[in-house]
């Protein structure tokens, strides 16, 4: 009971801070200052992040569920309605500004099967475009973990992020977007899950685990940390990093990335090639037979004994 009281008071304190922040958000035009927290009272610096989460038209149910999962996990996310046009991405920074967000996660669905994720710092960039694959949502019954809605998750990166410059930038952006700031509106005061980002095979793998500190089979035993996966899980292939928010010069492009459409067309072409080769050899064989046919001789058996 005591803990409940404590948390309530903590929440109240937070709400206070948040109220102030909100007002300031309304007043301030410059998000950069907000984000860095330079504007905050000098004694205590604050990490202020708000993320606008939206998608393009044409997302499938699976993509939509993934988006919902992210919304459930990140309390500082503001979800918006689908963006109508895929060619007017320059609207996004304005939209984010309207929602007082300094980050944007934009899911772009193409051909109803390919999903791209834009992670951007909105007014001034950068923005990272990634291809999302192997999506498993939280609804799957194999993911047995659970956590408090809106609890602040730990964000874990593996060391390969620090090895490359683009990795460092991605790490920074992801820390802003996926790390829940303490002042988030619906944030709970305890930590019970961890988001991991790992680079493997030059892709970024995302996992989300629940942290269990006691063995459920022996609740009175010694505390022993174990993890249960909550979901969702997905793999991100970085494609490009732009200097601005949804615009600007390309500062990084992944040479290994092959667009899924190209992969599909290559597969189809391979199939077509097989057919073509077969047809060609068929034609050649029949032609050869024609060419090899000898002219009827005068002394052929049929002619002699006619």
């Amino acid at each position: 009971m005591a803990s409940v009281l404590k948390t309530r008071s903590a929440n109240a304190a937070k709400a206070d801070a948040k109220g102030k922040g909100k007002r300031r958000l309304d007043v301030d035009e410059d998000n950069d200052e907000l984000m860095a927290g330079t504007d905050a009272p000098p004694k205590r610096k604050k990490n202020k992040q708000r993320v606008l989460l939206l998608s393009s038209r044409g997302i499938t149910h699976r993509m939509r569920h993934l988006m919902n999962d992210l919304e459930a996990l990140l309390p500082h996310v503001k979800k918006d309605s689908k963006l109508d046009s895929k060619s007017h991405l320059h609207l996004l920074p304005e939209l984010a500004d309207l929602h007082n967000c300094n980050n944007t996660l934009y899911f772009e669905a193409r051909r109803h099967e390919d999903l791209y994720l834009w992670a951007a710092k909105t007014p001034n960039g950068p923005s990272i475009k990634m291809h999302v694959q192997n999506v498993h949502t939280m609804d799957e019954l194999k993911m047995t973990g659970n956590c408090l809605k809106g609890s602040r998750g730990i964000v874990s990166f593996d060391e390969s992020f620090d090895a490359t410059e683009w990795g460092r930038l991605t790490k920074e952006v992801f820390t802003h977007i996926f790390g829940v700031p303490p002042g988030a509106r619906r944030a709970k005061p305890f930590i019970d899950h961890i988001l991991t980002f790992s680079i493997l095979d030059s892709r970024i793998w995302f996992r989300n685990f629940q942290i269990m500190e006691k063995d459920p089979l022996q609740p009175n035993g010694p505390p022993q940390t174990s993890l249960v996966e909550i979901g969702p899980r997905f793999v991100l292939t970085p494609i490009r990093i732009f200097e601005g928010a949804f615009s600007g010069a390309t500062v990084f492009s992944n040479p290994e990335f092959i667009s899924p459409a190209a992969v599909r067309s290559a597969l189809k072409r391979e199939k077509g090639d097989k057919y073509q080769v077969r047809k060609y050899t068929d034609a050649e064989r029949s032609g050869r037979r024609e060419r090899r046919r000898r002219e009827e001789e005068d002394l052929a058996v049929g002619n002699v004994f006619a």
């Binding site: 009971m1 803990s3 409940v4 404590k6 948390t7 950069d32 984000m35 927290g37 330079t38 610096k45 990490n47 710092k121 001034n124 960039g125 950068p126 609804d139 019954l141 408090l148 809605k149 609890s151 602040r152 998750g153 730990i154 964000v155 874990s156 990166f157 593996d158 060391e159 410059e165 683009w166 460092r168 920074e172 820390t175 790390g179 700031p181 303490p182 005061p189 305890f190 930590i191 019970d192 961890i194 991991t196 790992s198 680079i199 493997l200 996992r207 685990f209 942290i211 940390t225 993890l227 909550i230 200097e243 010069a249 390309t250 500062v251 990084f252 492009s253 992944n254 040479p255 990335f257």
Partner: protein
């Protein structure tokens, strides 16, 4: 070089050209002998030389103007060759087809500097941790890959707990703190149900397997038992029958004898049955070959159903068996019962 000359010769070079080519051939031949292995290089050089030579010829022939046309054609041919060579070389370059890679490290770093959070921020503001090793596993191997991620997360959780303790951040949720969860209770119930179902399925499968195994064994046992019972019954019947017959015979001899003797005989028969059977079983069979030798073996005669001369001549349709002999069944022993012993037969004959 010779091939080249032949090819060109078909088109009909003039003497001058041929001369020049020959001299060139000698030169290039020398070169070839000098630097063995550099064949292709020298050839290409030679080709270029030819081209230039032809060009000269064209210049020369401009004055004469007799074989202008042919020479020009030749020239064009050479030009095409060169072009093809160029194309091939371009292809060679494009074989490892790579997209243009942009990795503007300076710009990336500058951008990172602009968006970077203040390093003075305490850890509690971001809750970001770094795993101090790289994930280095086979991507295709699902199990080890997931294990690596799990390890990373576990390490992250542990470091985060210590860091939280340092920063006096509440970490563990007390058991009396209840709040809305990410997954609803209904969903968690489904998850639990599925886990239960899964374990139940496994258990059921195992039980079924055991049962099946037991059944197989039990069935065998039962069959064996039934057979045994039948056999024993048959044996008993036989024994009783033979005893009865004996008794009948004996009763004819001495009618005073009463039922006690029969009972004793039955008991005797029953008791010594296994021994007798054992003796019977102990009689060794002859080997297969021996039996074949004695009784004959060799399948059906292939022509056993064909007509023979005898079969067509006899008009004996009753037999049905022994069509070859026709008289095979003529023994007439049908219904005669068992053949009597020799002494009895002798006796009857004597009578």
């Amino acid at each position: 070089m010779k091939r080249l000359m032949k090819a060109l010769g078909d088109d009909g070079l003039d003497e001058f050209g041929e001369m020049q080519l020959e001299s060139l051939a000698e030169q290039s031949g020398d070169e070839e002998s000098d630097e063995e292995g550099g064949e292709s290089e020298s050839e290409s050089e030679a080709e270029e030389d030819i081209g230039s030579v032809n060009g000269k010829e064209v210049d020369d022939d401009m004055e004469g103007g007799s074989e202008d046309h042919e020479e020009e054609e030749d020239d064009e041919g050479e030009g095409e060759d060169v072009l093809l060579d160029d194309v091939e070389s371009v292809d060679d370059d494009t074989v490892p087809r790579q997209k243009l890679e942009i990795d503007n490290k300076v710009a990336l770093e500058r951008i990172r500097e602009t968006i970077k959070l203040d390093s003075a921020l305490p850890w509690t503001e971001t809750l970001a941790v770094t795993y101090r090793s790289t994930i280095d596993v086979d991507v295709e191997d699902d199990l080890s890959r997931e294990l690596a991620f799990y390890k990373q997360a576990l390490d992250g959780a542990n470091t985060a707990r210590t860091l939280a303790a340092q920063h006096k951040l509440p970490f563990t949720r007390p058991p009396d703190y209840f709040a809305e969860m990410v997954k609803s209770d209904a969903h968690m119930e489904r998850v639990r149900q599925r886990l239960l179902d899964e374990s139940a399925t496994i258990k059921r499968g195992e039980e079924k397997k055991k049962e099946r195994e037991g059944k197989k064994f039990g069935k065998q046992m039962q069959i064996e038992k039934l057979k045994e019972r039948e056999r024993s019954k048959k044996d008993m019947d036989e024994k009783l029958k033979s005893l009865k017959r004996k008794r009948k015979d004996g009763a004819l001899d001495n009618p005073q004898d009463d039922g006690d003797a029969f009972d004793v005989a039955v008991e005797d028969a029953i008791s010594d049955r296994p021994a007798k059977r054992g003796r019977g079983g102990a009689k060794t069979k002859m080997s297969r070959t021996a039996r074949d030798g004695k009784f004959g073996f060799g399948g059906k005669d292939r022509r056993s159903k064909q007509n023979t001369r005898e079969s067509t001549e006899t008009f004996d349709f009753g037999g049905g068996r022994g069509s070859r002999g026709g008289r095979g069944g003529g023994r007439g022993g049908r219904g005669g019962g068992k053949r009597l012993g020799k002494s009895r037969r002798m006796n009857t004959r004597g009578k």
